[in-house]
Amino acid sequence: MHTRGGTRIWPLAAALIALAAFPQVGGSFYIDLALTTVILSIFALSLELLVGRTGLVSFGHAAFFGIAAYATALLSPPASAASLAWLMPAVLLITALAAAAIGALCLRTRGVYFIMVTLAFAQMTYFVFHDTKFAGGSDGRYLYVKPVLAIGGVTLLDLGRPRTLYYAALGCLIVVYALLALLGRSRFGHALAGIRANEQRMRAVGFSTYPYKLAAFTLAGGLAGIAGFLLAVKDGFVTPEMLAWHQSGAVLLMLILGGIGTLRGAVLGAFVFVLMKEFFQSEALFGAFARHWQLPLGLAIIACVALMPNGVVALPTQLRRIRAPIPHAG
């Protein structure tokens, strides 16, 4: 289990203020990028609960991201704005149910089998959306009018406006982060950490571990649904590629880049990933070769995992150890 040092508040606060102030100074391209990063941070945080806290390495988390996105697009009426008040809860409920169903099956396996099974089920949901007609097949589906929150005819939040959507997403990020932080200190969170450290031990002292793991899996799926919902609203468009296993790989990568086991690592990892991807895809830097951006990305992944297995968050400690090696005690 990790005994975490007290979270230093001021870097978090500073980051939050920077994020909040961003739309006031950035151009629309950068706001879009920042919004994507905020959404991916929520996605990464949801997986951190599963991988970092409970020790369940899922290679199929994109399934819930995509299911939520599709549910958003499918439930939204074609010509008018859906009400946020029912749309978002409905989407999250559907996603959580899917997570519970898939989790119930996957969690019957452990270790490497679990990784393979989550990958397989995510691929299955990909095919469900890709090969069938009900959701537009490989073409995907449009979300024509973005949802609003209105009370008594007065529009409080119109997610069709980029600034509003940005702040709504930021708000979601804060809520998810706080929820996970709270959960981490709670009895439930401690039990999950124990399961990660030694599941057999937990069973030996009296914890039925399956319900805990299923709860974590369902919650993680639901939280990923928030990210999927926001992305669908942002892009106005959903495709089966959101469920592709490359998406599942990307979010796992964000976790390891930032540092497994901390919430700020998940958020940091999302930022680093987006920046890396933008960097490698930049035609300004690489010209025509930029279309092969997956090559440097693949090499970067290998290098980062090999050299920085504890992520960016642990970098200061790693560097300190290189410069002043600590003699091994005892």
Binding site: H2, R185, S186, R187, H190, Q200, R201, R203, S208, Y212
Partner: protein
């Protein structure tokens, strides 16, 4: 009297395909007693303990805990009903403090997973039990150290403390003396002796000196079967047992038994 048996195995068998690891084993644990389980390597002791604790299922026979038939109960359920178990290979959470190791174990009896507001470490139920367990295991001074930094002997003590934190009535201890020097062994034996009054203890051990000092009853397993189960003196004089342990000295030090 059956009513006094806290844990009973009646004709327990366990096969793995063609291999019979445990064949018709019966034993009973009584409160206030240390019941030692000895045997050569591969005799089936670990398998029997695993069946008793619930980690693997029996392919035959019955297990009764505190009068209830728990043969089909999974391990967590048995643990909550009062069956504690320690492991031969230390299974402590190395990165948590000694206190947290015990508190988390105690939490198994006070699971309120929906209560997200309360800081886990401030829950009076689990923290109290944890403190008591740490005290009984004589680890109070180390309570806030990281478990990974403990000495080997202290880790084995912690292994027991984790068991105690669940307030069990039956303790299945798998080689708690493994890898210990003479001083640490003394300390552990004192600890076990102090635990006797409240618990029924099954002790799997290879250290014969210790076994003969502390056990009220000894059961001997060979090739999956129990060949003898009696008081230490009777076991010492048992020809079958001596044959099984060819070359091993059973007339151990007659140092005063630890009462």
């Amino acid at each position: 009297m059956p009513a006094d048996f806290l844990l009973e195995a009646a004709g327990v068998s366990r096969r793995f395909g063609g291999l019979v690891a445990v064949d018709g084993a019966s034993l009973a644990l009584v409160r206030g007693e240390v019941h030692a389980l000895i045997g050569t390597n591969g005799a089936g002791k670990s398998t029997l303990v695993n069946v008793l604790s619930g980690e693997i299922s029996a392919t035959g026979g019955r297990v009764r805990l505190l009068g209830r038939d728990v043969t089909h109960w999974p391990q967590p359920r048995r643990a909550r009903a009062g069956l504690g178990r320690s492991y031969q290979r230390t299974t402590i959470f190395a990165q948590a403090t000694v206190f947290e190791n015990c508190r988390l174990a105690a939490q198994a009896h006070f699971q309120h997973p929906l209560d997200l507001w309360r800081l886990a470490t401030r829950c009076p139920d689990s923290t109290e039990l944890a403190e008591q367990a740490i005290e009984r295991a004589a680890l109070t001074a180390q309570a806030h150290r990281s478990a990974g930094t403990l000495s080997h002997g202290q880790k084995r003590q912690l292994e027991i403390a984790i068991c105690l934190a669940t307030a069990p009535q039956v303790l299945l201890l798998d080689e708690p003396l493994a890898g210990m020097g003479p001083e640490e062994t003394e300390r552990m034996l004192l600890l076990l002796a102090a635990l006797k009054p409240g618990h029924a203890i099954l002790l799997v051990e290879h250290d014969m000196d210790a076994v003969f000092r502390i056990a009220e009853r000894i059961t001997v397993m060979v090739d999956g079967r129990i060949i003898a189960s009696a008081e230490p003196d009777a076991i010492r004089g048992n020809a079958q047992v001596q044959a099984a342990y060819l070359g091993e000295t059973l007339d151990a030090d007659e140092s005063a038994s630890v009462a």
